[in-house]
Amino acid sequence: MTTATDKKPATMAQALQRAMRDAMAEDPTVHVLGEDVGTLGGVFRVTDGLAKEFGEDRCTDTPLAEAGILGTAVGMAMYGLRPVVEMQFDAFAYPAFEQLISHVAKMRNRTRGAMAMPIVVRVPYGGGIGGVEHHSDSSEAYYMATPGLKVVTPATVEDAYGLLREAIADDDPVVFLEPKRLYWSKSDWSPEDPAPVEPIGRAVVRRPGSSATLLTYGPSLPVCLEAAEAAREEGWDLEVVDLRSLVPFDDETVCASVRRTGRAVVVHESAGFGGPGGEIAARVTERCFHHLEAPVLRVAGFDIPYPPPMLEKHHLPGVDRVLDAVARLQWEAEH
């Protein structure tokens, strides 16, 4: 845990821990539950120290059963608690889908607002950490396709803290996707002085530019920022938008950027077919058609089961693939 006297850069994992810690200290109804979240502090150490500080009734090692974890969280929320559930890995959240889709997402609507579900489901997601199969899925499209859920994902250390605080305070259920490979990314962010963050539902321009817009989120943000730097050599000044919140979707910020630049590429790790990029490209096209100089392109993971670790570098959208897409944005027409 980072403290005021300890000025070393904080990691995203520490920022997430701090967000839960601060929320638990402020609000006694916040409970953390999941597999290995107590004594061990989670397999990624994101709940480190919470059981020690708040006791095992507030940060609970549950039996190993994801539907049971989320299902009991529903009951706890019915009684007025605010559960924060940790799913150990993306692919191990699947047993909880029925609870998530049939109850968590629908409860407010089916009870005409009488019963909210202020539950956060934290899911470490995405690849790039050399994980063997079932440890690297990008499952965001499944969640996005479920009305009633909010779906957010931080890409920076600051946002990890701010967005998780927002998610815990939110009366709607939030699927909080944590980009695994950014867990150890660092920043000078200090928990004592958390910078104000945009609320859930707002996208943020991380790098202003004028030639084209890269629309991205989570683990692909650093890739896009790197691509934008590299693109300068080609004479392209790329704008990079960090979507942050996939649901609700910030059409306003996204479209303002695309209307300004006239070109857009959506970048994500998740499979392209049926993936978030299709929805985003459609929304942008529907709203910004007359400003577009080229079709909206997608750079996504291939439409394959997540590959074994020794081959994952070929699957993950990298800087070159992003630049190739940018090159295909019909620049010739301009000259």
Binding site: E98, R108, R112
Partner: protein
């Protein structure tokens, strides 16, 4: 070369594993060999409770008949009747204290009504004008739950939360025999036992999951026996013996309230009607079986015993029947009124605040409605 011949082998002594013993004694958790009964055993009967049970059984049966009739008149989209299972439904409602919570399945409208919920609100789901027609917190009745067994972990979580808060609230969760095959049944019972949550699971074993008989569902000695595997007591009760179900439930609820942990109860009963009005039960069972269960009907059993013991007379029986008719007439009248529908409600309460996306779609629907009205 054997291990004994290895240099230094003389010093090697394998440590024996620690002696194994079961973590808890399974014997006290086992259900009785026969379903527990009160009626016909000569046990003492509490007259006010018996009369209350009787009145509710009669009312409940009339409610089921009326609701089924309403499906034929197109007033309900569907009705899964609990005819034959009224003893379980009624006892579940009466065994709970006001502060306790009930977690019903789609078949348990009657339990909700017997608990005092307005019948029209209880039937909202099955009429189809909304999903849940009441505020679950106000009545401490969770929404009638259709995805099988998924309500069970909710009951565990709620009971656990109540205990953490220091409230002596108990959750009673209802599930069918088929539902015990679902993963959520297993997970809920396991969580409940590990957390020692104040929750009671009542399985209404009515013989069928739609068309599938229990033999195709499980090889367990009984559903109550499953409790032992989780480390909680299992109880077997005659589900058509209303005082017996009430007693077993009351004992389990009391035990949970005192911090004794969860109980699994299997009530052996029978679904006299088809799965729902849309089902054809002749495809999977014969009338002889149904007729045999008619002999063991919950109302008939209780009425017979109360009459024989002089605890109820003709007037009492007539009064219960009349009260049930009055209820049915009121229900008919209420359900014959068209429900107020507002299509714009579709976009309400999907989220706390309406997203831009839903605002756009709501505007589209509003425009369509206005065009239609012109």
């Amino acid at each position: 070369m054997t291990v004994q011949e290895l240099p230094g082998a003389a010093a090697y002594r394998p440590t024996p594993p620690p002696a194994w013993r079961p973590r808890t004694d399974p014997a006290p958790l086992l259900p009785d060999p026969e379903p527990f009964r009160v009626l016909g055993t000569g046990a003492e009967l509490d007259r006010p409770l018996m009369l209350k049970l009787y009145a509710e059984l009669v009312r409940g049966r009339r409610f089921n008949a009326q609701a089924t009739a309403l499906t034929k008149q197109g007033r309900l989209a569907v009705y899964p009747s609990s005819t034959g299972q009224e003893a379980c439904e009624v006892a579940a409602a009466l065994a709970l204290e006001e502060r306790d919570w009930l977690f019903p399945s789609y078949r348990d409208t009657l339990a909700a009504v017997a608990r005092g919920l307005d019948p029209v609100q209880a039937l909202t789901l099955l009429r189809g004008d909304w999903h849940t027609g009441y505020d679950p917190r106000e009545h401490r009745i969770a929404p009638l739950c259709t995805p099988l067994a998924t309500q069970l972990p909710h009951a565990v979580g709620l009971a656990h939360a109540a205990r953490l808060k220091g409230d002596d609230v108990v959750a009673l969760a209802l599930v069918g025999d088929g539902g015990t095959s679902e993963g959520d049944f297993h997970e809920a019972l396991n969580f409940a036992a590990v957390w020692q949550a104040p929750v009671v699971f009542l399985v209404q074993n009515n013989g069928f999951a739609i068309s599938v008989p229990l033999a195709k569902q499980t090889a367990a000695p009984s559903l109550a026996h499953k409790a032992v595997g989780y480390g909680m007591p299992g109880r077997l009760v005659d589900g058509n013996d209303a005082p017996a179900v009430h007693q077993v439930l009351s004992e389990a609820i009391g035990r949970a309230r005192r911090g004794g942990g969860p109980t699994l109860i299997e009530a052996v009963t029978y679904r006299m009607e088809a799965h729902t009005n849309a089902d054809d039960a002749t495809r999977y069972r014969g009338s002889a079986e149904v007729d045999a269960w008619r002999e063991h009907d919950p109302i008939r059993l209780l009425e017979g015993e109360l009459t024989a013991r002089g605890l109820i007379d003709e007037d009492g029986i007539r009064a219960a029947a009349e009260a049930a008719e009055t209820m049915a007439a009121a229900l008919r009248e209420q359900m014959n009124a068209e429900p107020a529908l507002n299509p714009m409600d579709l976009f309400a309460e999907v989220y706390t605040a309406q997203s831009g996306q839903l605002r756009e779609q709501a505007a589209q629907l509003r425009a369509e409605l206005e065009a239609e009205a012109r």
